[in-house]
Symmetry: D3
Subunit: 311 residues, 6 copies
């Protein structure tokens, strides 16, 4: 297993047209979840990725597992919950260029993940353990489960990768900041966005954000700035520019960047080279509606190598 | 207001094809709820009907209110919940002739209804207060709310109509039976099915079921037997046959019967005549997919009068 | 040209689901019209068929012409109306097994057909001129146009075929009966149904209906009885049984029968043999939704010859 | 009742794809009508709005009434016509950025509105009576009905608001100009566009258009210039800029402006403040396909207050 | 691996409505293939199933692999063909109760399977090797590949299961019979239908068909008779009745029977018990449109055990 | 007949959403083919156009013929192939602004066209014979068929129009160049694009490309440069600018240009005037999805004359 990740994924219902959902009759079901996006992105690039979660013993749970297994993601450590349902959510396109969501995830199977779900057995042989700041926001037991997971990974020498992905819709700032900072303490590579930085560290300056991550114990911070990424280590600061493409749907860009970046590291690239691959990967995703549907495979990545990327 | 009813309604998602939902991508949204079906049925027949409930301050709540207001149902006493969502559910057609549901109603806005929601003001001038045995199954506060409502109605001289509608998926028999029996104690007209009777009174014999209702305090029991209905009072037992039509979708037949039956009483019919109208009304609904979509209006009822009904 | 026919065809909007149209959001457009059904049926069987009508200079007119030209029907004598629109209509499936329509055909282009539209040039060389009792119901000018057409056809020795197709929704009995009787006076072959017979001649007895047609001047009456057809001439009465197939949608069966019957006569069959082909043709149509979509081609007819037909 | 309006609304069929309708098979039904758009916009902002019209006793009439009642619009003064149908129309997106319509409204129920339909009873207590220049174009009786309505409103001291909305597709300039000028004579607040101005007064200069309205008797003219609005009174001329948003579908912008503007006046704003709210309201609508579907509610308006508006 | 199977699967396009495909605009894509149906059926019942085939390096190949991996089928031995496409086919529902197909499989990737594709490595540890008579009909190299596979399986002691599945649309009787007979010579368990038997052995008598299989070398013949199955061994003849359910779509019943039957054997059942499970499994499939979509899982099978099955 | 053209057309399946086809379930069928696009464009402008090809005796062949006949194209010389299927293809929108195709055309009926298919009878009276460089890429017999056709046309004095339309996906440059050059030797009017020019003559300079065509024997070369066209004859070089419109879908622009250009010549315009009409025609097509669906008719062309075109 190259990368192990954990988190909640849900059935996603997309309305057939824009406007308030009250006027929309038809919906199309797909799937969403930051961590499973990363796992699918890695699998599509030919890496071994394991996604750990908890889903209901229901049809949307079955559908979700089928989708991810279909993408080549290992789901053998996913728990099934006989009592709690698989979470679902609805997208709404109310205004041009914006999107909001309505969740039915409260009390979901995934919110009942608990310490021990990411076992030593599950992490054995992994190069990276990836998680996001969404999971600890789901419930107290999820918070404990993530903390337990990063401790186990640390202990086993599996490098921890964290995308803070701070969602103030799911928890309050006062609650979130100390938890995320504690998790960053176990993190090797942090992938914060500028918005994350503002809440966590009170600054939108990429370099300051990076340095704050290092101060908490990270070895590398890859600060996503929209146009590109700033790589900050104890000794180095390096800017990697993104590619310029037409953006059809920005959702999933961060996850795709993460998948591409980890793919690069797994292939032995330098962090800067890996970040360039991250940008490349993201540039595919934003040109297609859907988080996973636009992820490139190895051949597509190779074809776009010479054309799309600017350093 | 002719009839006041209370209960939960939800957004209903119907899959575009049969088979396990795991294989279905497209869904169409409508609405479902036993009590709002009755209210809509009455409104369509020209009566004044008020539906009392609690829905989220969300898009599906807006959609539900629009739908029922559109049908002519009074929703002015519906509460909006800023924190809990409007419940939703999914239908699945797994095998020929059968249907199952997946609910996302736990912790819904409606499950947070509490005593007082059916106020004297809301009941003022009503001929009937209608409720079902589904509502007390939703939560403790719902149970208390229904009991409070029937007490208020009794006190005000509003006749209480109860469809036991026992759903063992929502609560256990041990829990349900005493609650429903207590509610039947405040009920003037009970509309049990044979399945209800079996769980409540341990018998599938229509007359015995009717007598058991009377023993609890009801003045009239209309026992639905599938093929027709048995009307039981202290002094009389009368069988009213249903009409024979092709059944496309049986869901909603009981609610339609109830609407037609109350419509008949409101028009001054005898209970037996009213039950015949109930059967007529139900015969429309079962010929169309959807609970409300098949309900007849006054003109349609009149046209079918001479043709479809057998006594 | 083997057969020339005239009449109105319209764009037909079919709801995506059953129930009152008030609840249906999505519609699918096709086309309908008794006379163009006959023309398409003949063209599909390899005969030359011309359909004469008047359609708007609008998109539904264009669509209708494209559809019929696509089927191989000659539309070169169709008039375009720069002012009046092409008629349209909606189907509604309210109850199991029944269907009703909502027309937007009042003042349509076709209702403005006038004498002369079926010219000698248009009829030249034709074996049959076909029309139905729907056309004279559309307007006064249509009535005159049909009368003019049958007179022209008679004069030219083109045999007139008439399907009375009496629609009491379009005109009153008092208005319809004398007009249809006058038209039957110019008719060689009448194809009345039993319902037509009842209104026109006050009898549902097939033989009596046939004799009444002959009395008006027809040489052959093919009385459609649902299960089969009774052929009545001055000298002969012959019953031809229909085939037994599962009926999915009965609409269009009469038109298909007429197309198959005329096809048989054009191929030199006896009337009884031709009626058998009519039944065969109809048996294809009733197994498919849509009037034209189920019409068979020559090969299909041949294949079903030995299997489906009973005399 | 805060605002009473009158006019025709129709079932609107939108093709599933662009291009000539002749190639489009699937259509989706919604509703359209300038005056009911204004009523729905006001209701969504929490005001009491009554829409007066005449619809057929048919399914599209039922659907239309359900839709507007659902939106919270009072429809209790709408007449039902047992003989004439509810009008319908089709949109066509032939070229990028343009849209045309095909009407089936000739002889519709609404075209049979007649004087008296806007009764004193219907106007009682209203602050504004709103109408547009579309209604008098529908028929002679509609013309008389509008004139009768504005006279009644004037007499009762209800302020008359008029959007000229001149449609040269429905009537000729020679016919339209005197009628609209007569109506402006009874109008307190006119909301002409620059195109209206050009036809009515021969000028595209906003101030000149405003002055011409005043000369006819209006007290306030709000001349819509696309980018904003010019408010002209006897003593004052004030420009109110619109907001800059991405326009997805411009249809309905004028109606939304009118709804927001009247909402502002009802809330006690100055005309300039009310016009700013009008622009805000319109900015929501143009970002969503559909006239009503994009209208904001009170909360959305509040949220966008600080962000979207420029004065 | 419990069962290894080989064969072609294709993307399947189902028309949205019945009638000739010439009139159908919209199609929905799923997947079909007898052998992958069996593999999916086994995986859904909790067994390890491997499907071996060859698919194009194209999108439909990717989709097919995702679907089967999603179902839990092992696809690690599937070959990818950089030059030949994945086959596709279209269904047509021309007449009530009948279905025909249009293939685009000539020269497909799967038709290029060759000896060696079912390697010793692929068969290692398997209890059964399953194949059908469809594969040798695809091409000469496929014929050789199947023969090579059964020889390898025999040599390794893997029991060979064969469903003759004779398709006279794909090859001629003269060609097919000797090939299928040769394959039956390597077969332990044959699952012929009565139609297969008629072509192969000139008899529709189930027992005679079974005996003919044994004569060729099979140890057990399970002759499918529609209503049930006749099990024939050297020493025994036993009839196992099927269940009686409403048949919505019979396609896939034979594959489901085979999956259930092998599942039973893998669970240590007697052949007769296993055949009963086969019937049970098939009874699920025929109640749902789609070959795989109706397959039951272990829990569903258990629930239906006491209810649906007759011996 | 004004113009005769020959070539392959196929059923085209368009996915309902963008992204890799592996994720797309629903498809919509239309039709595509360069030469039939030209024929349909001419027919829509009122000219007589004949399309010659070979299609399968299958449903997609029937559908294709219906579509083109519907458009008014003469299909009486199209051959039916009882053995080979009508080709089909799928579009994929993988990245913003790009499109790729998956063909199932290998061994199609059209690829079996052979010399003689464009007979003297078929060309009799034609002003132009049009073909493209796609046809000779389909098979050896197609190559021979095209060469035979241009020779026949030359001999009969029918002017040959050729759009090289070089598709390196269908054949190799080495194969293509000599064939296309030989065909240009029989061509009166060549319509190369700049990309064609680069492969054929090693230059992207429009004038050089034009001169190279003349050198091979053409009398007029119309070199399409995206923004406009350069007309090159022995004596003259003239630039004709295109119109500036929003491009929704560029596919079909070249075919539309060709249709408009030939329409102009048939109407007696000079080549420069005809090229302007070509640009106008193309400007309609690129504003609509679909090759044929956006083609203008005569009235639309007239209306846009004064507005859209710049010389």
């Amino acid at each position: 297993m190259d990368v192990v990740t954990m988190g909640e994924s849900m059935a996603l219902f997309t309305p057939e047209k824009s406007g308030q959902l009250r006027y929309v009759q038809n919906y199309s079901r797909s799937f969403g979840g930051a961590e499973s996006n990363v796992a699918a992105g890695l699998a599509k690039l030919g890496h071994q990725a394991r996604w750990i979660s908890r889903v209901g013993e229901d049809e949307f749970g079955e559908a979700l597992l089928r989708f991810l297994r279909g993408e080549g993601v290992d789901t053998s450590f996913v728990e099934r919950d006989p009592e709690a349902p698989t979470g679902i959510y609805f997208k709404e396109y109310r205004k041009a260029g914006s999107m909001s969501v309505q969740y039915y995830r409260h009390g979901s199977a995934a919110s009942r993940m608990a310490p021990g779900i990411v076992s030593e057995k599950a992490l054995k042989g992994a190069s990276f353990f990836h998680m996001t700041g969404i999971t600890p926001a789901l419930s107290v037991s999820c918070r404990e489960a993530v903390l337990d997971a990063v401790k186990t990974a640390s202990r086993m020498g599996v490098r921890v990768v964290m995308d803070p992905n701070l969602r103030l819709k799911l928890w309050k700032k006062e609650e979130a900041v100390p938890v995320l900072k504690e998790l960053l303490g176990y993190t090797d590579i942090a992938l914060p966005g500028v918005d994350d930085g503002e809440v966590l560290f009170g600054t939108r300056d990429p370099e300051e954000i990076g340095r704050a991550c290092l101060a908490l114990g990270c070895h590398l911070a890859v600060v996503k700035t929209g146009a590109g990424a700033l790589l900050v280590t104890e000794t180095d600061v390096e800017q990697v520019e993104g590619s310029e493409v037409e953006v059809v749907d920005p959702v999933g860009a961060g996850d795709a960047f993460c998948a591409g970046f980890l793919s690069g590291l797994l292939d032995g690239m330098t962090p800067a080279e890996a970040a360039a691959r991250g940008h490349q990967t993201a540039s595919f995703v934003v040109q297609v509606k859907g988080d996973v549907e636009g992820l490139p495979d190895r051949r597509e990545l190779a074809e776009s190598d010479s054309r799309d990327v600017r350093r």
